[in-house]
Every structure is written in structure tokens, then in C-alpha cells.
Subunit: 340 residues, 2 copies
DNA sequence: TTGTAAGCGTTATCAC
DNA sequence: GTGATAACGCTTACAA
């Protein structure tokens, strides 16, 4: 109303939708439509508004828009860690797919801690994101409650089990263990061990171990399991594991590590001390092909998970057309290199 | 007003500040204070409000708060890429430091493209973030205009030059090149080459090369520069570089690569074909110590950059007390391993 | 195709 | 210490 003295307290004198509208000689809602349903605005006005927007350098206030429409173009993701090589590709694929459609990524890491995940989810929900993406199906009771009650789409990544309610995009970690066991057994190895992840809270890694052990038993082989010091550095934990296992009276002839960093540690420890033992990793981290011997490993569909998660989110938001067939169970690929 | 029939159109029947206030028998603003300045609310009411909040599972709507106060607890960051080993640590440190103080991270990647960076910045500004963090000092004109006009704090990371207006947190890439040249020269090498990054748009890498070349010339050594195919995969580009350089009539005795992935490619190519050439990388990527020979490299303060950037942001927002001394120029450390 | 009026859920302001 | 009231900048609903 007070057009001559618009500065009140907050956005004092800022360029708003109304500024643009006045300048263009239209109403605010028309400018709003220009941005959101341009086809509903006549070409002449469209052109005029475009001019004014450029001239004034107007940037739509998405916070206000989000409040008014109760749906911001923002998607929240909680992931165990950002810097690890494994999830980074998922984030990248997710973020890129989102931003290609005008959505932004709100990100936090949980470090495999259910409490940290819960607090991140709580904070995120306050932004009323368009969707929420989590990792794995292991959450705190508080998180479960929130995702059960929220109305926004929730997607779980890096996991796949039949009975869950939220959409899941990933693969069965148990089956990865099965694949590893069959592969090594098929190569003729008979004394096999699994090395757990040193990061506590990585339940998915435990599942890989379970699948591995169960399959070996089926095949008539008694599996051994090595548990590194909790929360020790993975590379060092891998070295430690290799040394400990090879000191045994009947050392293994093949070891399946919970991830490639552990495997790299094992490989190097074996290499440096002249031990002969096949090594299989999980992750296909960028360095796997750089090692000597190069590391055989199981490659999870990290990037695809991110892209597909974003796609499913955009579908349920109506931004993308619904896929006819929703294939959310992805494949892991065994990559045979020199180490096993 | 219509308390008996609150469902209008949007947030139909949602738990809001008012719901809590009514239930607790106080006014909305008191509940608001309970969250933002709890010390201004009497202990009895505080307790009562806490009960109601828990009972109703109330989550404050940060979008509404952001609109009302014109400052959301959200910080935007644009980084060349998320999945690369080099920036991942910066993001991690940044995100963790922020969330420790109740701020959330809005993230996008630019792939070293000034256009993508600009479009990300434009989208982000619409969320009126509390601050904006970019990478390097190379931006499009549009981005420069926006950061000049915005009133929120802008921080540039991974760079440090004296004359810039925005706060910069990082180091001099030119000086990294100087360090590399002096180090290799000091080790007795005399025929040296620099391998550029295969990713176009990585101007910082070019600066490292400049510092390297200029210093070598000062030292009386003529530098050679190898330029890989534009946008080829870095690991392959490194192999290619090594092969090409070693095929020369007077092959180099030491090569400084623009980053560790390139260096790893070079190292492996040399290793596999029995060539003898010292290799120095940049980045200290996680695999550097896993290679055979292990990779000598220059370690940038990736994590520290993220933490410090967040710290500076929080300081300028008044969340953290202003540091007495603001040391924004960080050190790179040369890590001597086996390869050089 | 365009406009008017009424919120969205919170915080700033000012009064008590 | 507490509250009434008016924004914040936009979109929904409805009308023209």
C-alpha cells in the first residue's frame, strides 16, 4: 500500500513480484504465472515481463513461494557420508538429475548414526521439502515415525528388501555376499574369510557378510569372519585383517572384504610381505583399477541409484511422467581383475 | 479465526505454532520465543510448551520462519563436483560444521562450468540463504554481478589471491607449482614436465602449471608441458601422458601431474612398461598411499577449507564469535612417498 | 487471459 | 515476561 515508502523492516526496498508487476503494468499474479505457467500468459505480456525482470534483476523468492504453495522445489537427502567414494556418486547423480528439473538438494550426513540421521530428518522436514531420501532401511524409531506420518514421498536408497513400505532403490546386500561366495568358490578357493567394515553401524556390510557366510556353508565350506577394531581407519583395518588372517595355522586362500578400502589395505599388506591370497572387494572405488595387482570387486550401481532416486521423486511429484515399469532393484556387477 | 474449521486449502489441519500455543494456553509468539530465545520464557511455560511440542510432534516450519525473518538457516554451496575425491572432503567439513550449529546445506555442482555455476547461484539466491560459498575466483559476469549485489556473505574457497573482495579461503595454486618445482629440482631431477588436467575449465590447475614452469625457468631448467585430450578420463589421460612423454628423444626424469588421478595413470603406465620416471601428484587422494610405488603428492587442506569456510560464515552471521585472527591462507603439505 | 482477495506459518514491532 | 497486530512475498481460489 505505501508505495512511496516501501521500506519497513525486513526486505527493505527489495525487488519483489509486485515491483515487477507495477513496472510491467500488470498484476502480481500475472508475473507469478509468467514464471509458473507461462503458457497462460499472452505473448505480449510475456515479453514485457521478461524485459522488466531482466532490467530489475528480479530473482523470485522461493521461500515465499514455498510457504504459499506448501511445496518448495527442494529435496532433502541424508546419506552416511559425503566424502566416501561410494556415496559420492549417488549424491552426484541425484543432485544433477534434480537440478536439471529445477529442484535443489538439501544434504546432510549421518555417519551411519541413527541419531544423527533423525536429527537431520527433523531439521529437513521443517523446510517442507518436496521429498525425502534416506540411505538403507535402518533408522531410529523417531525417524520411522516421521517418515510414516509425513505426506511427502520418502525414498530409501542403497537397499532393497521386499516388505518395506517406502520406495526402495538399490540392491540386496545379502545377494552381494552370495555372489561373492559363488564366484570365489567357482575359482577354486576353499578356505575363505570375510572382513567386516571397521565403521560401526554399517548394517548393510554385515548383510553382505551374512550372505557370504550362508552361501559358503551351503557349498560345504566353513567361513571365517574377521572383525577389525571398531572405528579404526579402514585402510589400516584391512592391513590388520590380512596380517591376522594369514598368521593363522591354516590361512585363507581368498578374502572377501566389506569394501574396497579395506581390500586395498589387505592387498598392500599381502603385497609388501609376499603373502599369496586372493582378494575381493566391494564398491569398485576409483582406485580399484589403479592398484597392483588391480582389485577384483563388486561394483554397486552408485550413480544409477542417485539418478533413479531422483527420477522416482520427480515422478511422484508429477514433474516427470510416471514410468510404466518401475524397476527399482538394480544389479551389482562383479568386476574381475587381477586380485581374485 | 475459524478454529472449529481450520482446513482451508493448503496445510489442512497441520500442527502449527498456533496449535501448540492454544494447547499450551499461551500465545503463538511465546512458543516462537521458546524455540528462538528460550531464556525469555518463564520456566513453567517452557516446560508446558515442551510437553505439548512432544505430544503433538510439532516441527517448526522453517520456510515460514525464513520468510518472516528474511534469513533462513540455510547456506548454499556450489562446487565443481561432488563425487571427486578432492572436493568431497571440503563438502563434508563444511556440511558437518554447519549442521552442528543448526544450519543446513544447499548444494549444487558446476562441473567447472561458469554457466552451470551461475544458474545454480541464481536458483540458490531465491532461497535467500544465509550465505553463499563458491569455488575458485573464476566466475561468469552474471555470477560476479549477483555476488556483488547480494547482501549475504559470500566466501570463495580453494583459492587465495590478494586483490579479491569476497573472503577467500584456500591457498595459492601458483605457489603449489613453485613448491613442486623446487622439490623435484632439489631431488636432483633436471628434465621435468607438467601434465595438465584433462577437465577443461580447471583454471586452478593451469595456475599450478604456471608456477611450476616459471620456477623451473628461474632454476635454469626448461619445462615441458603435456596437454591431454580435452575432457578425457583423467586416469587414461595420465597413462597417455606418461607414454607420450617417455617416447620423446630425451624423456623427462620427473613429471608433475595436475592431480593424483592423472598421476596414478602415469604411475601405472610407467610401472607396467618398466619406465623409470619420478611422479609427483596433487591432491593426496585416498589412494595415493595405496599405490605401488606409493604416490608422492601435495596435499591441499581440503577438509580444513570446508571447516574454515563454515566457520567464517557462522562468524559473519554472528553465530560464532568473531575470530581475533582470521587466517584464511592455508598450507599445502608436500607428502614424500616412494614415487618422487 | 487477467485480476481481486485471502491466506500460507512464522517473526518484528510495539504495547502492556 | 507476555501478547496483539501487522507484515514477509508469494500462490490458491474464485470471479470477471
Amino acid at each position: 500500500m505505501s508505495e512511496d515508502k516501501p521500506r519497513k523492516r525486513r526486505g527493505a526496498g527489495r525487488v519483489t513480484l509486485n515491483t515487477v508487476a507495477r513496472q510491467a503494468g500488470v498484476s502480481a499474479i500475472t508475473v507469478s504465472r509468467y514464471f509458473n505457467q507461462p503458457e497462460q500468459v499472452s505473448p505480449e505480456r510475456r515479453e514485457r515481463i521478461a524485459e522488466v525482470v531482466a532490467e530489475l534483476g528480479y530473482v523470485p523468492n522461493l521461500v515465499a513461494g514455498g510457504l504459499a504453495s506448501a511445496r518448495g522445489r527442494i529435496v532433502a537427502m541424508v546419506i552416511p557420508n559425503i566424502s566416501g567414494p561410494i556415496f559420492a556418486n549417488t549424491i552426484q547423480g541425484f543432485s544433477d538429475t534434480l537440478s536439471r528439473h529445477g529442484y535443489q538438494l538439501l544434504l546432510a550426513s549421518s555417519y551411519f548414526s541413527a541419531e544423527q540421521e533423525e536429527s537431520a530428518v527433523r531439521a529437513f522436514l521443517g523446510w517442507s521439502p518436496a521429498a525425502l531420501v534416506l540411505t538403507s532401511r535402518f533408522h531410529s524409531a523417531g525417524t520411522e515415525k516421521m517418515i510414516a506420518e509425513t505426506e511427502i514421498p520418502v525414498v530409501e536408497t542403497w537397499d532393497y528388501v521386499p516388505e518395506r513400505a517406502p520406495v526402495q532403490i538399490g540392491f540386496s546386500h545379502y545377494d552381494v555376499g552370495v555372489t561373492a561366495a559363488r564366484y570365489l568358490h567357482g575359482k577354486g578357493y576353499r578356505r575363505m574369510a570375510f572382513v567386516q567394515n571397521s565403521a560401526t553401524g554399517d548394517f548393510s556390510a554385515l548383510e553382505r557378510g551374512d550372505g557370504f557366510a550362508a552361501t559358503l556353508i551351503e557349498l560345504g565350506v566353513q567361513p571365517r569372519v574377521f572383525v577389525p577394531d571398531a572405528d579404526s581407519a579402514p585402510f589400516e583395518a584391512g592391513k590388520q585383517a590380512m596380517q591376522a588372517l594369514m598368521n593363522h595355522a591354516t590361512p585363507p586362500d581368498a578374502i572377501f572384504f566389506a569394501n574396497d578400502t579395506l581390500a586395498a589395505g589387505g592387498l598392500l599388506a599381502g603385497q609388501r610381505s609376499g603373502l599369496k591370497c586372493a582378494v575381493l572387494g566391494f564398491g569398485d572405488y576409483p582406485f580399484a583399477e589403479m592398484l597392483l595387482p588391480s582389485l577384483s570387486t563388486i561394483k554397486p550401481p552408485a550413480l544409477e541409484i542417485g539418478v533413479l532416486a531422483a527420477t522416482r521423486v520427480l515422478e511422484s511429484l508429477g514433474v516427470l511422467p510416471d514410468a510404466v515399469q518401475r524397476l527399482n532393484l538394480l544389479d551389482c556387477r562383479l568386476i574381475e581383475r587381477e586380485s581374485a
